[in-house]
């Protein structure tokens, strides 16, 4: 990868943003689409401003569920992958059931989730977790089994325990995989929470989140406001993605080839 002056890295998203918005307006006027199908960016920002108190409160509520679900997925995903990484037998025995968990449509589990976790926040967290859990497990597991066999030989020779091999060797070398999984989960957390609000949410005590707004704006055909809600959800997502990118940098920049600049 050629070295890019770092100012470009700030300018380019802006340039592509301008292009994107222009394209948007072009599509709107060119295709004869109307505001109730595809509002213009201006209309969306208008709506966001008009609804900003509601949006902010809802975003706050959704953030709680998304964050908790994300953290749960990040930690449980890590732990589960460790378990799967420990032995081929555990992998053979557990992986199929994880797949079943991942592949069962959430709607089927909704009543059970509500019953066991409770409606509202606990249920929302559970749904968010369910949705963002598997990408982490799948990636981290692949990372754990991809360890350089020469390094494994080193640990074997040092008579390292299974646990030491896992924690001091396989886990660090799986970090790029784990972080890629975490990045996927970061994008899934806010939409997972919104979906969770749909499925098991509850409006008690003003705890309605973006999911409620999506639903109401949709029923009430407040399309610009609906897009403003989507925008808000994207902004939440960006917070998660930014956090993961920061973590990625902190963990990898000193030693991993993805941060290697060929020119010093």
């Amino acid at each position: 990868m050629k070295k890019t002056p770092s100012i470009l890295l700030w300018i380019l998203p802006v340039v592509s943003g301008v292009l994107f918005v222009t394209l948007w307006y072009a599509v709107r006027s060119g295709s004869g689409l109307q505001s109730w199908i595809l509002p213009t960016p201006g209309e969306i920002i208008d709506a966001a401003w008009r609804e900003h108190t509601r949006l902010l409160r809802a975003a706050g509520n959704t953030m709680v569920g998304a964050l908790a679900g994300f953290l749960l997925a990040g930690t449980l995903g890590f732990a589960t992958a460790l378990l799967l990484g420990v032995s081929r037998s555990l992998r053979a025995g557990l992986y199929p059931w994880l797949l079943v968990l991942q592949m069962t449509p959430v709607i089927v589990l909704t009543p059970i989730i509500v019953l066991w976790a409770g409606p509202g926040l606990p249920g929302i967290i559970t749904v968010t977790w369910l949705i963002s859990f598997f990408p982490i497990v799948a990636n981290m597991t692949q990372g754990l089994v991809s360890t350089d066999m020469n390094h494994v030989a080193l640990f074997r020779m040092a008579n390292a325990s299974r646990l030491q091999e896992m924690l001091l060797l396989r886990v660090p070398s799986a970090m790029p995989y784990y972080l890629a999984g975490l990045r996927i989960a970061a994008t899934l957390a806010p939409i997972g929470a919104i979906f969770g609000e749909y499925m098991v949410g509850n409006s008690a005590g003003g705890s309605g989140g973006l999911g409620f707004l999506v639903y109401s704006y949709n029923t009430q055909i407040k399309i610009p406001a609906l897009f403003a809600t989507a925008l808000t959800s994207c902004l939440l997502g960006f917070i998660f993605v930014a956090a993961v990118s920061l973590l990625n940098w902190a963990v990898l920049h000193k030693w991993h080839d993805s941060y290697e600049r060929d020119d010093h």
Binding site: G32, Q34, S35, W36, I37, I107, T110, P111, V114, L115, P119, E197, Y198, M199, V200, G201, N202, S203, A204, G208, G211, F212, Y215, S216, Y217, N218, T219, Q220, I221, K222, I223
Partner: protein, 316 residues
């Protein structure tokens, strides 16, 4: 946007598409009856009924010309038109929306006021929820409607939105003692309507008129005559639909006078009145669903509403 209807000068029936808001079910029975009994054909129409689903996008479909006419809840159409979607109501399918509250008889809901403080599973953002909160003055805890009845079955205190023509049958079939109450009341009287796009209306008023006439005829026949022809079509589309269920559904439509309306108030199948629409628009504004007023002429045209006598004559 392209229209499928051809000028009627040529011989042969006019092909049109009609978009329903859900999977084929008895709540669409009138259209299937009209189809099965040839009422559309008699009018020179070749109607294709497009099934919907949970996110049917009925109004969008009609507005962009993917379908020529459609049906859905009346106040949704009012709101859409107020927001600039170029549609117009052209007739009523039901005088009252079958939407109701499903409850266990152990913890009954005798009037809508009984919902005070309870937990209700319903579609967030629905107009009637705002009406209940702001006009009837009841406060309740809202759970989003997913479409499952499992939670309802598991908890006798649970109440949930339903179609009085639909869910109670299955809940009773599973052994629950349930009752229903219609959401529509004197305060809030939503229609279920047929609508089309302004463009189609302007180009083919004759087709619209024929469609309404045949559909209302089909509806009256479906709920008062022998529903077998429509039911056969429905069962072919969805084989989970049993005869018992369809019979129940039709009975509920009659019990609640959904299609025919209340004759004592001068209501009849297919009717839309300017007064009721006016009242509805005002209500929507009062509860904040509509932020600006809209004229009745802009949301509906009454020129296709069949005369009460006429529709009765047709069923004879």
């Amino acid at each position: 946007s392209k229209q499928t209807a051809e000028p009627t000068t040529t011989a042969g029936p006019v092909k049109i598409k009609f978009q329903t808001d859900w999977y084929p079910q008895p709540e669409h029975g009138g259209y299937y009856q009209a189809l099965a009994k040839g009422y559309y054909a008699e009018e020179g129409l070749d109607v294709e009924i497009l099934p919907g689903g949970p996110n049917a996008q009925v109004m969008t479909s009609v507005a962009v010309g993917r379908a020529d006419l459609g049906m859905t809840d009346g106040d949704d159409v009012i709101v859409a038109i107020a927001r600039g979607v170029p549609l117009k109501m052209v007739g009523a399918e039901m005088q009252r929306n079958p939407q109701g509250i499903l409850f266990h008889t152990e913890h009954p809901v005798k009037s809508l006021k009984d919902l005070q403080g309870r937990t209700l599973m319903a579609g967030a953002g629905s107009t009637w929820i705002e009406v209940l909160r702001k006009k009837v003055g009841v406060e309740f805890n809202l759970l989003p409607l997913v479409g499952d009845l499992a939670r309802f079955m598991n908890n006798t205190e649970f109440v949930q939105q339903c179609f009085v023509t639909h869910e109670p049958f299955f809940a009773r079939q599973r052994g629950a003692n349930v009752g229903t109450i219609l959401i529509a009341s004197d305060t809030y009287e939503p229609y279920r309507v047929m609508f089309t796009s302004r463009e189609f209306l302007a180009k083919h008023p004759d087709v619209v008129g024929k469609f309404i006439r045949a559909s209302v005829r089909g509806w009256v026949d479906y709920v008062t005559g022998d529903p077998a022809p429509a039911n056969k079509l429905l069962a072919a589309k969805d084989d989970t639909m049993t005869p018992e269920f369809m019979a129940y559904s039709i009975k509920a439509m009659n019990d609640y006078q959904l299609v025919s309306g209340d004759p004592a108030k001068g209501e009849f199948a297919g009717q839309l009145t300017a007064a009721r629409l006016e009242k509805q628009i005002k209500l929507l504004q009062e509860v904040g669903v509509l932020d600006k007023p809209v004229a009745v002429e802009d949301v509906a045209t009454l020129e296709f509403i069949p005369q009460h006598k006429g529709s009765r004559d047709q069923t004879n």
